[in-house]
């Protein structure tokens, strides 16, 4: 398969502190709105990006001020790709307990990866578990283009 023709890309390194991903989130949402992606696609990408950023900052790098998070985003006419890499020890996503299982349903954390998988078309971790690739194919036609405030 040939490489998609990217029409927009960004590359950021952010600190491991709460809220550090806000500007990236706004930039991605602005691009999606400008290109009139469907409302549900925007919701899905927004949610998955947020979950990946929180995982990297809070769990991967454990809010360590000496560690950074590297975020790369690429958009074609039909595809959004986001890669989030932290400098933590990684984890085994296959070893996560199922948060929908009755025994874990009242556990306050552990739903981020589930939501990423359900809202995105492709979610892949590297072997170490400290880099995640998120991919969303655009819904065509945009039956309900998003028009609300991208902030």
């Amino acid at each position: 398969m040939s490489e998609p023709r990217w029409i927009w890309q960004c590359d950021h390194v952010i600190l491991s502190q709460p809220g550090a991903g806000r500007k990236i989130r706004q930039e991605v949402l602005r691009q999606l709105h400008q290109r009139q992606w469907a409302k549900h696609d925007v919701f899905s990408i927004h949610l998955a990006l947020e979950e990946a950023l929180v995982n990297a900052i809070r769990h991967g790098n454990a809010l360590d001020a000496a560690k950074e998070v590297h975020v790369q985003c690429r958009m074609s006419d039909d595809l959004m790709q986001i890669e989030v890499a932290d400098q933590g020890n990684g984890f085994d996503p296959a070893g996560l307990p199922d948060p929908t299982d009755h025994a874990h349903r009242e556990t306050p954390s552990g739903r981020g990866v589930l939501l990423m998988r359900r809202f995105m078309d492709r979610v892949e971790f590297n072997e170490k578990g400290n880099v995640v690739l998120l991919e969303k194919r655009r819904t065509h036609p945009p039956e309900d283009p998003c028009s609300s405030d991208p902030s």
């Binding site: 709460p18 809220g19 806000r22 989130r25 409302k39 549900h40 919701f43 927004h46 949610l47 947020e50 979950e51 929180v54 900052i57 809070r58 948060p99 929908t100 349903r105 009242e106 556990t107 306050p108 954390s109 739903r111 981020g112 589930l114 939501l115 359900r118 609300s148 902030s151």
Partner: protein
Amino acid sequence: MTEYRRLAIDEVGDVTVVRFRDQKIIDDLNIQELGRELARLVEVENRKKLLLNFSAVEFLSSAALGKLITLDKKVKAAEGMLKLCNIQPQTYEVFIITKLNRLFDIKESEAEALAAF
């Protein structure tokens, strides 16, 4: 009167109706503050019947869900009642995927929820 930055509080009879000031409950720092304010309702103000009205909420992350689960535990420990209402379709999808629609008592409207206390 306690100041709430993330919540708007009303009382309808003996039920405390809680509305969220944020349309998008995503910012990590705001979510921590939200958790503290929800806990205060139960642990400091001893409110027993809580109704969370999500009509203003367009988006919430798993960290926000975690705060709701923690609140649910606190309410149960205090032998109170917690209900949720007016959850928008996209947000409700998050509850269905995580199966939290089975943990929480969710009603379509505020009137329906108030009648169920």
